[in-house]
Every structure is written in C-alpha cells, then in structure tokens.
Amino acid sequence: MLALRVRDLVKRHSATAGAAPVEIRLDALDLEAGAQLALRGPSGCGKTTLLHLIAGILRPDSGEIHLAGELLPATAENTRDRLRARHLGYVFQTFNLLQGFTVRENLQLAQRFAGREGTEADAHRERLLAELGLAPFAHRLPARLSHGQQQRVALARALVNRPALVLADEPTASLDDAHAAAALSLLREVCVSHGAALLLATHDERALRAFPAVRDLKPLAPAA
C-alpha cells in the first residue's frame, strides 16, 4: 500500500508585498509504506508549502493527495483534521512543542485528537518516551529541555499515533555536523522501527547525503 500518493498538485500563492504571485507544482509523487524520500530544493522553492499541502493544513488549488489510501478532501476540513491526526506525524524545524503542556502531555494531546486513548495508548506512549530516552523528562515543560531533547519530543509526538507517514521540514537546519547526523539517523531509525514512511524536505546537503532517495523540486514557475 502507498503511504502517500500525490497527483497534479498545484498551489498558487497570491502576490504579497514586494513578491510576485507564485505557483507551486508537484506532478506526481508516490511513497511506499515505510519508504524514505528527501525533497531537495533551494530556499523558497516551495518545500514547506508542499508539506503543508500534504498535511492538509493548506488547501491546494487543484490536484489529489491520498494519505494511507484515503483521499484528503479539498473542502471538508473536519475530515482533513481527522486524517492528519490519524495518519500523519509532523516534525517541524522549530519543533512547535506546546509550551503550556509537559512532554508527556504533548504526546497525550496528539493521541487524544486522534481518538486514541486508553491503556493500550498509554502503554504505547510510555514505550515511545522510554525508547527515545525521554522518560526522565516526561513531566517537564518543553522550555526546560535541551535542544536535542526537544527534538526527540517532537519526534515522539510525531510517532505517537502510529502514523503511516512522517513529514519532516528542515530537521537539521540549525544543528552542527555531529548533531545533524545524530538527529537524522535517529529520525530515520525510529521511522523504520515504527513502520512509518518518511518524507523529508531540506536543502541541507549533509542530510541529503544520508538519504537513499532524493527528489529534486523544480524551480518555481511564475503564476499564470
């Protein structure tokens, strides 16, 4: 089964102050369950936009996105929210942890939004926390964690609902070589061990070198 299938995706950003309108396109992209792929492209070519479209937090102007075999509808926001919560984990460059909730609660909230609560869900969450070395910090607020620890929390939260697909946006951008390598291999390992496909967007050559498959994005086309 495909974790992700994209066809004829088009997103137009209207002109903003000082910038012409742009059109971001992705003709076709298939990602097998558990596969890993890097999207490469210079800054501003539309990587983040594509990940947002796939996550269903942006609406495409046209095209189709299937997540774990289910079509992301263009209009029904509720359904997009539900599919995102169940099938998708998102690792942001800035982690985007909820500062008012502890590490454990960050994961718990994600589980709750996906409708996964109960003893089985609790056990899975605690296993994940332990696996990523976060158990001793589970009761802490994110602000009281190191950069590396926060990244692991972001990763744990992305995986807590057993997603079919993990999206990662520039996960190594602000790290030095050693940390970038460590973070990347952790990301790839846990995705493999949890059976999630990984789609990573970056222009960081260090990250790209580690990937088995890299997809180059076309430069931006001027909007029609």
Binding site: A85, N96, G100, Q108, F113
Partner: protein, 413 residues
C-alpha cells in the same frame, strides 16, 4: 498527565494558567467593574426602600408653616432644623380628632456632643402604634421609659453606642442642633439628665436620638420662657378607617393664611425627597452602565490579548490534529471561565461595597440599608456577565476557526 476534561475545557484552563498574569488582570478588572455596577444598582434600590421605611407608622407630620419636606426631614429623619414652632394645644386638638389614632409631640433644639436631644411623649413608644411595623422601639432589659415630669433620657441605640451611654449615666445637653466643641461650654445647659432607658436597634432614625420628655426640653434653662408651651412638630397616625380624613385635615391646616403645615401624605414627601436625588440616581445608573460596558470591554481585550499570544499554539494544535471547532469551543470556554471567576469576584466586590456604604449611611443618617445586594440581583448580574463574556468571545472564536493554520505555524519573526 492531562486531566480527563473535555479538550476545549482543558485547553481553556491551560491557556489561562499559562498566561496567569493577564488572566488575573482580566478577572480583577471584571470583578471591579461589574461589582461596582452591581453595587450601584443595589444601593439605588436599598436606599429608596430604607428611606421609605424610615417614616415608621406615621401618616402625617404637623409643623410650622413651611416646607413639608423640611418638616418631614427634621421630625422623622432628624436632619436639618424644623421650620418653626407649633403650639402645644395642637396635640390635644389632633388627639381629639375622630380620624386620629396617635398624635405624638416633638421638641428639637438641643444636642449632646452632636446627638440630638428630642423631647417627646411616652406615646411614641406605645406598642400599639408600632404594630405591624418592621422595627419598633423597644427598651433593653433593665431600663424604663422616662418620667414625663423629670429630666430623664431614653437613648437610641446608635447614640448610646457612640456616646458610650449606660443606664444611670448623667449628661448635660448643649443648646442647638449641631455640636461645636469650642463653643459647647458657652451653650451648655445647667441641667443634668439621667439615662434611664436604652433602646434596641431599629435601623431607623430613632436610633440616633436621645429621647427625653417634652417638658424637660421646653423648660431647659436658657430657652425662651415665651416658648415654653411650643413644640417643633406633631407626628400623626390616622385610624385605619379614617378614609379621606388626612385630605380634609391637610386642607384645613394648609389653607392660605394659616400658620401651620400638615405634611401629608408623608410617603409622597419622601418620594419628593428622592426626586431631589434623581440626578444622583441617574448618575448611578450611568455609572452602572459604564461599568457594565467596561467589563464587556475587559473580556474582549483579555481574550484578544491571549489569542494574539496563542495564535501559534492554536496552529500547532491544529497541526497535530485538533479540530477547528474544538479550538473555537476552547476560546468560548476560556471566556466563560474568566466570566465565572469574574462573577464570583464581582459578587464579593458588590457585597463589600454595599456593606461599606450601608455602614456609612447608618452612621451618618441612622437609615439601615440592606448590607448585601439581593440574591436575585446578584444572580442576574452574574448571568449578564457570563452572557457578555460569551458574546465577547464570539469574534475571537470565529477568528480562530477561520485563521489559516499554515500562516501561524512559523515562529514569530
């Protein structure tokens, strides 16, 4: 671990906690503004009711020709001076009138350290006069009524408390209605009065008076002997079956060329008094409306501020799967939580303000106001506050529902 609350409530509670400082500010503003509004409304009610009750069992007051309002104020509320004198014979004339049940004489003109000494007859304390009244002047155990022929005092509760009077105490009154310490020596009478009775508190102006026999005041040394048979006012209570007698009596007394005025009906003159304060009443109304508007504004500002701080949090929540309606409900819940806390504070503030004002009014006028706002008013106020909060949250909630998730995901530049 997250508590087992509905998500909206959980997010709301955490939001308030995370921004505790601004939450407390909002709650304090809400409590003060709406508490003030509630107190203003409650005091309007309470003072009108208490003032109306201050007339006691009396239907009319006979005084010297002059303003009926002044007659009522000086004889029933013990404020200001009487407009003039009334011949003592009027008491008998009134008592003999078929429509009159009670006629009680009053003589003013002296004080003890600012507390009025008022001459009257034992009839003022007749239990049948006070039947059916919410408060009646009753003697505390151990005391007795003054002997009409002696210089004795039955002290109102407030005057007694302020002067520290006990049974058997002696005091020397001063001429005049108001007390000035520096001239008190010159105006002091020679006579000594003895306290023989103390009254229970009634919550009416009776509490502020040192009651003494008419003759004791009339014959005080230094008073003009020519007026030794004059009164300041006669309080009148009609028989229940008297019908139009009040109208007839008032017609007679108040006819042009007369020397006396019958203030009747007393209630109408008290109402007229309130008319005088209509501007203050309106001002209170405006203040209440202003405070209410202010509290509504508080909610909007508090929510807008917290929302601006939290746009990114909302976006993150959406990105990890929270549905838009959940966030909208969370904002609504947050406003309502602010409202509940604010309403609790407002009730406390209103009760505090009212008891403070009631205390001051009691000290200054002897009028007893309800010390706390009525429960219905508080409930209505709290309900209105919650409704305001909910309405104030609609716009921020709508904005949160509609705001594009992607745009707020990036950290603030």
């Amino acid at each position: 671990m997250i508590p087992r609350l509905p998500s909206a409530l959980l997010l709301a509670a955490r939001g308030l906690r995370q921004h505790a400082a601004s939450s407390w500010c909002a709650i304090a503003l809400l409590a003060l503004a709406s508490g003030g509004a509630l107190a203003a409304l409650a005091l309007r009610e309470a003072s009108a009711r208490a003032f109306a009750a201050g007339t006691g069992p009396f239907d009319a007051v006979l005084g010297a020709r002059g303003s009926p309002l002044q007659i009522v104020l000086s004889s029933l509320y013990h404020l200001e001076a009487a407009p003039g004198l009334v011949p003592e014979a009027e008491v008998d004339k009134l008592s003999d009138h078929s429509a009159v049940a009670h006629a009680v004489p009053l003589v003013l003109g002296d004080n003890h350290e600012g507390w009025r000494l008022v001459g009257t007859s034992p009839g003022l304390f007749a239990p049948e006069l006070w039947q059916g009244q919410p408060a009646a002047p009753r003697l505390l155990a151990g005391g007795r009524l003054f002997d009409p022929a002696r210089q004795e005092i039955v002290a109102g509760s407030q005057a007694a408390a302020a002067l520290g009077l006990r049974l058997g105490d002696h005091l020397t009154p001063t001429h005049g209605l108001d007390y000035a310490a520096e001239t008190a020596e010159d105006h002091a009478h020679e006579e000594e009065f003895t306290v023989v009775g103390l009254l229970e508190p009634t919550g009416t102006p009776i509490d502020r008076v040192l009651w003494t026999p008419v003759h004791a005041v009339q014959h005080l040394g230094g008073h003009d002997p020519a007026h030794a048979h004059d009164l300041s006012a006669v309080l009148v209570r009609f028989r229940p079956e008297a019908g139009a007698a009040g109208f007839m009596l008032a017609q007679n007394y108040n006819a042009p060329g007369g020397t006396l005025t019958l203030a009747w009906p007393v209630a109408a003159h008290v109402a007229a008094l309130f008319e005088r304060f209509a501007w203050a009443d309106r001002l209170m109304g405006v203040a209440a409306a202003f405070a209410a508007a202010l509290s509504a504004l508080c909610v909007v500002i508090a929510l807008q501020a917290s929302l601006a701080q939290r746009r990114r949090d909302w976006a993150i929540l959406r990105a990890i799967g929270a549905r838009a309606p959940t966030l909208g409900a969370a904002i609504l819940a947050e406003a309502l939580l602010l409202g509940v806390a604010g309403a609790a504070g407002a009730v406390a503030v209103a009760a505090g303000l009212q008891s403070l004002v009631a205390w001051q009014i009691r000290i200054r006028t002897g009028v007893l106001l309800a010390p706390v706002p009525p429960a219905e008013l508080l409930a209505t106020g709290a309900g209105a506050l919650l409704l305001t909060c909910a309405l104030a949250a609609l716009w921020p909630a709508w904005t949160a529902l509609r705001s594009p998730v992607a745009e707020h995901l990036a950290p603030p530049a």
